[in-house]
């Protein structure tokens, strides 16, 4: 047993058996992992199809990523480097607690750097830095069934998928056009995977949809409460639904990121004072930090520094 590693915190453990010795490696028992692994293989063989699985209780409330955690627990190994993001940020509550959980039960190395991670668990964003082959992205899925709001009965939606009966979804998008003049859906924008299944991309902004198409990384999806797993293998076609005269479009902003000046990333609105002041900043915190470290600065950078919104000097090594 290495005392040095133990001193680093609960993620230590000895070299032969990493992680908290009170739990099996990665929390789940081996039989559960086997069940999830079998489901993952079937999910990969039928891209976009939702495989039912025996979802387990996790030490976290439903809706906080229990599905994603179970998928991660079934694939993660001691050699992995793990990153967790919540709405693009590494430092929000959900991301911090899931990262600490896996640090504790596996002892794996964690990172905020997208490029260094082998497994990225995400809630509602895809990192701006393009993912590479051999990386795995695990999505936390609140509602795996894209047709659920249109048809509440599971037996019926299952038939609609079985017969590729997807007219309902086109009607939903058309209703947007008839009411607003454009497709007003901005997140959970439905996609067609491998030309066969309409699939929920999870509540990522539609800005991220194009990144899913022919992505070199393996995409795994876990829905804990709904007990579904699905997958999109690398280089698989993922098309956002649209119409010939109303093609799919992503969000655009008039201004660049206030902190790093990026014009190609997804921006969040941040309130800066109680007098109506606000700015737009990258939702992907690592991407923003990386750009600032490389010398880019946005129009609000100096102000943000002055009011303590960014601490770039401390985290200079990012």
């Amino acid at each position: 047993m290495s005392l040095l590693k133990d001193a680093e915190g609960p993620g230590g453990g000895d070299a032969a058996r990493p992680g908290d010795p009170h739990y099996n490696f990665a929390y789940l028992d081996e039989q559960t992992k086997r069940m999830i692994r079998r489901c993952l293989l079937k999910a990969i063989a039928v891209p976009g199809y939702q495989v039912p699985f025996g979802g387990r209780e996790m030490p976290l409330a439903y809706g906080w990523g229990t599905g994603g955690m179970q998928v991660t627990a079934a694939v993660i190994g001691p050699e992995d480097v793990f990153k967790v993001i919540d709405q693009g940020a590494d430092d929000t509550t959900n991301a911090v607690s899931i990262r600490r959980f896996f640090q504790r039960v596996t002892g794996v190395e964690t990172t905020e750097k997208t490029g260094d991670a082998t497994i990225i668990q995400t809630r509602h964003r895809i990192p701006e830095t393009p993912l590479k082959a051999d990386q795995i992205i695990v999505y936390q899925v609140p509602q795996p069934e894209p047709l659920r709001k249109l048809e509440p009965r599971e037996g019926e939606t299952r038939k609609l998928h079985a017969y590729s009966e997807y007219g309902l979804m086109q009607v939903r998008l058309y209703e947007d056009i008839s009411q607003f003049g454009h497709i007003a859906t901005t997140y959970s924008y439905p996609v067609m995977v491998n030309g066969r299944y309409i699939t929920s991309p999870t509540p990522i902004p539609k800005f991220d949809n194009p990144k899913m198409d022919r992505m070199p990384a393996l995409q795994l999806f876990g829905a804990g409460r709904e007990r579904r797993i699905y997958a999109i293998p690398p280089y698989t076609s993922v098309k956002s639904l649209d119409f010939d005269d109303h093609p799919f479009e992503v969000q655009r902003w008039d201004k660049p990121c206030g902190l790093c000046g990026a014009t190609d990333s997804y921006l969040d609105e941040v309130i800066t004072d109680d007098k109506g002041g606000k700015m737009f900043v990258c939702s992907d915190t690592h991407y923003c930090e990386m750009r600032r470290a490389a010398g880019h600065a946005g129009p609000a950078y100096e102000t943000a520094k002055a009011i303590d919104l960014v601490h770039d000097d401390e985290g200079a090594d990012r």
Partner: protein
């Protein structure tokens, strides 16, 4: 079902069941996600007679008391090995199996005899572990589909002559159909039902 105990079982399972299975699974998952690519399985499993290390590692990783397994020879050392280490029930009819193990010298039933899932539950289909004589040297096939960037050429050796005809039929049933894992020695190659195979190196259908 056959009783445990009695004759000693040949071979041994993972030295460390947790990490052995995890490492093997990642290779199997990569193989399934990137069809046609040969993935090396780093494993310390020592298989019994009539089974390669990769096949043994795949079965030990995925099978347990919840999975019915079909063996071309149910009275073999390989079948006894799996029973002993996983408790998986053995079945006589291919149609009852969740996993099938096909040895190069064993019987290879028609793919259509295995479970292919149904329209509403295509996941309820069999996964076959097929040991081939080699990943090179057979007639070249061009694969296209999810997990393959453009097209990839494979030439597994030792498959039945009508195999690729059966495979087109299997692929035509998509999203239903069986999934295959070819194994040879310590390596594995995935062939999920989503993959289309065309004869000849240049023809991409």
């Amino acid at each position: 079902m056959r009783p445990l105990g009695g004759d000693a079982v040949e071979g041994s399972s993972f030295g460390d069941p947790v990490f052995g299975a995890q490492t093997a699974f990642r290779a199997i998952m990569r193989a399934m996600a990137l069809p046609g690519r040969v993935e090396r399985l780093e494993t310390d499993v020592s298989p019994p007679k009539g089974m390669g290390p990769a096949s043994a590692a795949v079965l030990l990783t995925l099978c347990d008391l919840d999975t019915a397994v079909w063996f071309s020879d149910a009275d073999s050392d390989a079948a006894r090995f799996l029973r002993f280490f996983t408790d998986a029930p053995l079945v006589e009819a291919p149609g009852d199996a969740d996993f099938g193990f096909v040895h190069p010298r064993g019987i290879f039933p028609a793919l259509s005899r295995f479970k292919r899932g149904d329209d509403q539950y295509p996941d309820r289909s069999a996964t076959l572990i097929v040991e081939v004589a080699g990943f090179e040297g057979g007639s070249p096939l061009s694969l296209t589909g999810p997990g393959i960037e453009d097209a990839t050429v494979i030439s597994p050796l030792g498959l039945p002559e009508d195999f690729w005809g059966q495979w087109s039929e299997n692929h035509a049933l998509y999203p239903c159909g069986v999934d295959l894992l070819f194994t040879c020695d310590v390596s594995v190659m995935g062939l999920p039902r989503s993959v289309r195979a065309a004869l000849g190196e240049h023809e991409v259908a």
